[in-house]
């Protein structure tokens, strides 16, 4: 029997303060109020309930995201990691922990490496003070540089960083200088996300009232293109809309999502997706654990399955998602894989839409793959929606 690869995501739901653009499930807390052990017990409890559906899976990657996982005690994190490894009887080949510059120093980075973490993902966002201030970040440019440098010095620990672009008055020079600085500090991979204003955030509220200064779409596009133009000279591969890597530094965990692999989500507010026994047959189900920290912890103490909101995914929906995610990557979407996974021919019913997109140079039809040429990535949503 071929083993099904599995990615595991663990949600750590605390931040020192909420960022005004962020709409992930997280609570702002003081460090002393974090229930480190109790939350670890909660996650281990949820893992026990979910494990039976995943007996044929092989553990590949673990990603601790949030929130701010670097606020969680290393011991608690380690205990969860050990439980995951024990459950699947294997070590993951990539174990990533998201960190904020304010909660990452050389000691913590070393401690993380010592418990088996292979990669840290640092929320730098920008190295320009006005932009950091606009984004409501707690760190300054210097502490961000220091955090990245400390982590990058540690043998056996890869470093990826998040950058944001599209802040008002941001120039291409600033963005490029940030990216270059990160590479010089030893980062092998970064993600660059265009600032997205989400409705249920402070930014969303300001934007509704017309009081959020923003960079016009055209200028945001220029930033994206400026970074793209530097990839070749710097030896970077722009391998997904928002992701850039030096050779051999690509992240595996996100790749799992893009390939449509199963992933186990653990922790309050986490999302997971894998095939489960439904009323008649096995079916892919995406679920989100209900975001209620106190209750999640109580369920952990009582050894009860935490509440979730399940969403069964039919084959057509899986095809859409496969296209949506695959077309954001440089390789494009592998049609045979998608068909094997869903039982549907992804081209069926899309012949005209594909032909139209190809004719407009929005899509390359490579027979085995469909791919959006990099020059059109800026309008990828438009192109993908056309294939839905």
């Amino acid at each position: 029997m071929t083993a099904t690869p599995l990615a595991v995501y663990v949600h750590v739901p605390w931040c020192l303060q909420r960022c005004p653009y962020c709409d992930f499930d997280t609570d702002a807390v003081a460090v002393r109020d974090i229930p480190h052990e109790a939350y670890a017990i909660g996650v281990q409890n949820e893992l026990r309930f979910r494990a039976p559906s995943l007996s044929e899976h092989t553990l590949q990657t673990v990603f601790f995201g949030g929130g701010t996982p670097s606020l969680w005690s290393v011991n608690a994190l380690a205990s969860v990691l050990r439980s995951i490894e024990a459950t699947f009887g294997a070590f993951a080949s990539e174990i990533t922990v998201e960190c904020n510059p304010t909660s990452l120093d050389a000691d913590r980075a070393l401690a993380l490496r010592d418990i088996g973490v292979t990669r840290v993902s640092i929320g730098v966002q920008s190295l320009q003070v006005p932009h950091l201030r606009y984004l409501g970040r707690l760190h300054d440019a210097e502490s961000a540089r220091r955090a990245v440098h400390s982590a990058a010095q540690i043998a056996g620990l890869r470093v990826t960083a998040d950058l944001m672009f599209g802040m008002p008055s941001q120039t291409a020079e600033e963005l490029l200088s940030d990216a270059r600085t990160l590479l010089d500090l030893g980062v092998g991979h970064f993600s660059a996300y265009a600032l997205t204003v989400e409705p249920r955030t402070r930014f969303g509220e300001l934007a509704r009232k017309g009081r959020l200064p923003r960079l016009a779409d055209d200028a945001v596009a220029l930033l994206f293109e400026a970074l793209e133009a530097q990839c070749a000279p710097w030896g970077l591969e722009h391998y997904e809309v928002s992701n850039y890597a030096l050779e051999g530094q690509q992240g595996q965990h996100n790749e799992a999502y893009w390939r449509g692999a199963d992933y186990l989500g653990l922790g309050v507010g986490a999302v997971g997706c894998y095939a489960r026994e439904m009323t008649e047959k096995k079916q892919s189900v995406r679920y989100k654990t209900v975001y209620d920290i106190a209750r999640y912890i109580a369920d952990g103490q009582a050894a009860k399955m935490p509440q979730e909101e399940p969403e069964p995914l039919d084959a057509e929906t899986l095809v859409r998602e496969g296209l949506m995610l695959g077309l954001r990557t440089a390789l494009g979407v592998n049609l045979a894989d998608l068909q094997a996974r869903t039982g549907l021919d992804p081209r069926a019913g899309r012949e005209r839409a594909i032909a139209r997109a190809v004719k407009r140079d929005n899509l390359e039809d490579l027979t085995t793959h469909l791919r959006i040429p990099r020059a059109k990535w800026l309008t990828a949503d438009d192109i993908i929606a056309g294939l839905f």
């Binding site: 779409d217 055209d218 999502y257 998602e321 438009d382």
Partner: protein
């Protein structure tokens, strides 16, 4: 056996939208025990979903109640409900002429409205006895005495005879019935004359075909009778006769003064002209009842499926709607931009909105509706005048001698605070004031003559806007007048989009052309390439806008595995695209075809 006409009372209920007509009708039914409170659900008289949602009655309905009066006699009460909107004035007038009296409902929290007045005048023209009902007296904001005074001052009725009532709590219901018995005249007993019955409503029933509502004026109508429709000149045999109590109940006959439904294997509602006279085929009356008028659509618009493969479904849906709506017309139409569709004729804008909504809601169709147009009479240099109801079909300007357009007399009722804004609006819309009358110190009634063309371009909404919702209007067609009109064409990427052509006043064409191009630029989403938008008159470009190519439409993140959310965003984007029409290679959304309604 038909009832003694002396014990029959036929009346209708006149009210402005939201003044509580349906609720009051429900109370009347409950009071006589015709329905229980539970049965009445809400507002039994409004059948269609859209009616219930909008709180207005589109098709007239009827109910017969038995009321035991204080004089010890039991009366047959026929309530004839009237449609409540400006588009259906003729239907209202026919329903009213089936009655001897009317209840005029005035919301005491709102006062008298223009619409109410228009229908009151119709009732007065039909010599009806009017009983004013001061409704919603149980509400804290009710002003009973002020409204009573308005009834005297504005409507010219005796305020002392007005009855205070509340449909909601049932106050005054018994008083209303007693007043109906005492004040509304009984129908005349014209039993021995040949049959003359007024057809005042019809609908389609899949078992019975077109069923008609009639008021017998003279003679009798019996099951099995051969009857003759005088306007359509067709003969039928009566298969079924009955009344609604409000549940359908079969009868053998209807006598003078009675109201009921007749089924006679009439195939289509289009053979049942509202206002027609039904007589006995063997003993025909010498002439029809007065007041018949052929109803003609006043407003036209193209309706096209967004997805051209939906054309057959659209045709079927239109066919079905027409089954029950004699005033709705359509015929196949083609547009270079929109492909195959239909040119549809409506009584007015509300009628148009309702049809479009029903097509989308009940039949699940995605539609493009073009801007409404009126029927122009185009006098040619050579040859007979032609009627044009589609701007894109206007003959070449060189052949046109003159264009005539339909004019309306518009009556506007407004609080004085909005007077200035409304006068400005009417002036902008080429209105000519022909009358102004103060009604008390706070309300004004203005009369204008105005081209229908200006009224269909969103006049009603603007009137509401200018008066913060307080003004109301009514209109009637007064004939055709010569206008100084030109056709403005719109081009998208050099291709003329025929469905966007509009006919407008020459004096305003420059500004409106510019505004239109600008509005289109706003309404058409940025696409993968630059788009040029031009407005032109007869090939001469009067305005140009350019819409830059879409630069960025890609979501930043796909994070933490919450893929559903992103997928749903794209699905929504796709849905939005489905509602657009590809013209050439440009996707144009539905709103853009109505851009003319959105400019001032």
């Amino acid at each position: 056996m038909a009832s003694d006409p002396a014990l029959i009372r036929n009346f209708s209920i006149i009210a402005h939208i939201d003044h509580g007509k349906s609720t009051l009708a429900d109370r009347l039914m409950e009071f006589t025990g015709a329905v229980t409170q539970r049965e009445s659900r809400e507002q039994l008289l409004d059948k269609l979903d859209i009616e219930r949602e909008r709180g207005i009655t589109i098709k007239a309905q009827h109910v017969r109640l038995q009321y035991k009066a204080n004089d010890g006699l039991t009366y047959q009460m026929n309530i004839i409900d009237t449609p409540g909107h400006v588009d259906f004035t003729y239907e209202v007038s026919r329903s009213l002429s089936a009655c001897e009296g009317a209840l005029l409902i005035v919301d005491t929290t709102q006062g008298v409205e223009a619409q109410t007045l228009a229908n009151v005048y119709l009732a007065i023209e039909n010599n009806l006895e009017i009983i004013p009902i001061l409704n919603k007296v149980d509400l804290p904001s009710s002003d009973v005495e002020g409204t009573r005074q308005q009834v005297e001052d504005l409507v010219g009725l005796d305020g002392a005879g007005a009855i205070a009532a509340s449909g909601k709590s049932g106050i005054g219901i018994a008083d209303i019935f007693e007043a109906v018995v005492k004040r509304i005249p009984a129908p005349k007993n014209e039993e021995n004359k040949p049959l003359r019955a007024l057809l005042f409503d019809s609908w389609y029933d899949s078992y019975r075909g077109a069923v008609v509502m009639v008021r017998v004026v003279e003679g009798r109508i019996r099951k099995g009778d051969k009857i003759y429709f005088m306007a359509t000149q067709r003969e039928y045999e009566v298969v079924e006769i009955g009344v609604f109590t409000p549940f359908a109940r079969a009868l053998d006959e209807l006598g003078p003064g009675e109201v009921g439904f007749v089924a006679a294997n009439v195939k289509s509602v289009h053979d049942t002209k509202i206002g027609d006279t039904i007589t006995d085929a063997r003993r025909r009356a010498t002439g029809p009842l007065a007041g018949f008028k052929e109803v003609k659509p006043m407003v036209f618009a193209g309706i096209f499926p967004t997805d051209s493969s939906d054309y057959p479904q659209l045709r079927d849906a239109l066919d079905k709607l027409r089954l029950n709506d004699a005033s709705f017309q359509f015929e196949p139409d083609t547009s270079e931009a929109l492909g195959f569709g239909f040119r549809c004729g409506f009584l007015g804008l509300l009628h148009m909105e309702i049809i479009q909504e029903r097509l989308e809601r009940e039949y699940g169709l995605d539609l493009i509706t073009t801007a409404p147009s009126v029927v122009y009479k185009v006098n040619l240099r050579h040859g007979d005048p032609v009627l044009v109801e589609n701007p894109s079909r206007l003959p070449d300007p060189g052949r046109i001698e003159s264009i005539e357009e339909p004019f309306l007399k518009v009556t506007i009722h407004t609080p004085t605070h909005a007077l200035g804004a409304i006068m400005q609006l009417c002036q902008d819309r080429r209105g000519e004031q022909i009358g102004m009358q103060y009604a008390g110190t706070e309300r004004v009634i203005m009369t204008y003559e105005m081209p229908l063309n200006e009224v269909v371009f969103d006049f009603f909404d603007r009137l509401k806007g200018a008066s913060r919702g307080y003004a109301s209007m009514d209109y009637e067609l007064i004939g055709y007048r010569k206008g100084n009109l030109v056709k403005v064409d719109l081009m998208v990427n050099g291709e003329p989009v025929d469905a966007l052509s509009v006919i407008i006043d020459r004096e305003k064409c420059q500004k409106r052309g510019r505004d239109l191009a600008q509005k289109l630029k706003e309404l058409i989403p940025r696409q993968q390439y630059d788009i040029a938008i031009q407005a032109a008159i007869g090939g001469k470009v009067i305005a140009r806008e350019s819409l830059a190519a879409l630069r960025k439409n890609v979501t930043a993140k796909c994070y933490g595995g919450d893929i559903s959310r992103k997928r749903k965003l794209l699905e929504k984007q796709k849905e939005g695209k489905k509602r657009m029409k590809s013209v050439g290679s440009v996707d144009i959304p539905q709103e853009a075809f109505l851009a003319i309604l959105k400019i001032t």
